[in-house]
């Protein structure tokens, strides 16, 4: 019985670590502090906010994708009565200092893109290589306390290991909140869960 428990624990650990995803920061030689635009599942999103480089939060030990409540980038549907739904891509942000994550003046980014009423996975899946302008998209910083406009370009959307439960998404974004907050040169390469759609 003891052996069985031991084996079960061992198998569980192997399973957990095999799904554990790490972040890879690939420095962009043209833009100090930013990671390059990639489609290699680096789990990295970077941008300049008022000329300071920000990165998405990702613990050094990595995450097992699929664990609810973790602050990895997430996709969610925002429903509004008598108006089209929106799909929101959001993630926690901070500063990268000597390779470590530190909190900065801003701690969250969300980009909300209008979709059809009753938006589904298929809506988002159809956005591969689609560019949305600031006329359409809203930018939220610090959990909706600051609102502005955004441009976003889904450069590549692919399924993760053939499963529709997770998507690998890569792209570019920028935006502004009035004249006070300028988000520039944003790029992301995330694996996101689709259960929120």
């Amino acid at each position: 019985m003891k052996n069985l428990t031991y084996i079960t624990c061992l198998i569980s650990l192997v399973f957990i670590f095999s799904r554990c995803q790490k972040q890879r920061f690939l420095p962009d030689p043209h833009n100090p502090g930013l990671s390059m635009l990639t489609d290699q599942q680096t789990n990295t999103g970077t941008c300049y906010i008022n000329d300071v480089a920000y990165i998405n939060y990702w613990p050094a030990a990595g995450y097992g994708i699929g664990w609810g409540g973790s602050p990895y980038p997430r996709l969610s549907k925002v429903t509004t009565t008598n108006a089209p739904d929106s799909i929101e891509l959001s993630w926690q942000i901070g500063l990268r200092v000597n390779g470590k994550f530190e909190t900065g003046a801003y701690n969250n980014i969300a980009i909300r893109i209008p979709a059809l009423q009753g938006a589904t996975f298929e809506n988002f899946w159809g956005w591969n290589e689609k560019r949305f302008s600031s006329d359409e998209c809203a930018l939220y910083i610090n959990y909706s306390t600051l609102k502005g406009t955004a441009n976003i370009y889904f450069v590549k959307i692919t399924t993760s290991n053939g499963s529709r439960d997770y998507l690998n998404i890569s792209g570019l974004f920028d935006g502004n909140i009035g004249d006070s907050i300028l988000v520039k040169k944003g790029r992301f390469d995330f694996t996101v869960e689709t259960s929120g759609l």
């Binding site: 690939l26 420095p27 962009d28 030689p29 043209h30 390059m36 635009l37 990639t38 489609d39 290699q40 290589e129 560019r131 302008s133 441009n151 976003i152 370009y153 450069v155 590549k156 890569s170 792209g171 570019l172 974004f173 920028d174 040169k185 790029r187």
Partner: protein, 208 residues
């Protein structure tokens, strides 16, 4: 780059039972990046200090012939096309220094022989230069951009060498990629040259 050459020339001038030097050249191809033709002109210099011991100091220089491929770049600017295809040119030069062990497999005649050559551990320098034609870097961002890189690390190599009349030879060998992490951000892997070479061995001090 110059230091290994100076060391090699210094070794040649040492007194003792020095036996032979050999020079070879030919054509090399990268075996580690399928679908991306990267060719080299390899030059190999070997110094075998003692005739009876089939151990030689070897320097390989692989001069890259350049490679062209397409790269994708994207922009958020609504006034510009969202996606453009760029021509990427990259070139890698490799210098490898190590000790070769020759193992005689069999003689095909009194003067011809087939050798297995093994370089268990060597040190290799890879220098890669990348450029993009007509790249508007103010507006566009390249997906999976390859970047200039100078990396070095350990490698191994092995191959076959067929000696004709003790002094001419034909050799085929393969070298592993650098035994270290993948280059930062690069879309390609470290090169693993496969070399087909023809050469001449010069016995400049005959053993008694």
């Amino acid at each position: 780059m110059k230091t290994p050459l100076i060391l090699f020339l210094l070794f040649l001038s040492l007194p003792g039972k020095s036996q032979s030097v050999s020079l070879a050249t030919g054509l090399g191809l990268d075996a580690n990046n399928p679908g991306k033709t990267m060719a080299f002109i390899p030059v190999e210099a070997r110094w075998q200090p003692i005739a009876d011991i089939l151990l030689s100091l070897t320097i390989n220089y692989d001069r890259g012939l350049g490679m062209t491929k397409n790269a994708e770049a994207f922009t958020l600017n609504p006034d510009l096309p969202g996606k453009v295809i760029l021509k990427e040119k990259s070139n890698t030069n490799i210098v490898t220094i190590g000790a070769n062990i020759d193992i005689k497999l069999f003689n095909t005649s009194s003067t011809d022989e087939l050798l297995l050559t093994v370089m268990p551990l060597a040190y290799s320098f890879h220098d890669t230069k990348v450029s993009f034609r007509d790249f508007d870097k103010e507006n566009y961002t390249i997906l999976n951009e390859d970047i200039n890189a100078s990396k070095s690390g350990l490698v191994s190599a092995f191959g076959l060498r067929y000696l004709f009349r003790k002094d001419k030879f034909i050799a085929l060998n393969i070298q592993t990629p650098l035994l270290r992490n993948k280059p930062t951000g690069a879309d390609f892997k470290y090169a693993a040259p496969v070399r087909l070479m023809f050469g001449y061995r010069y016995n400049y001090k005959k053993s008694k």
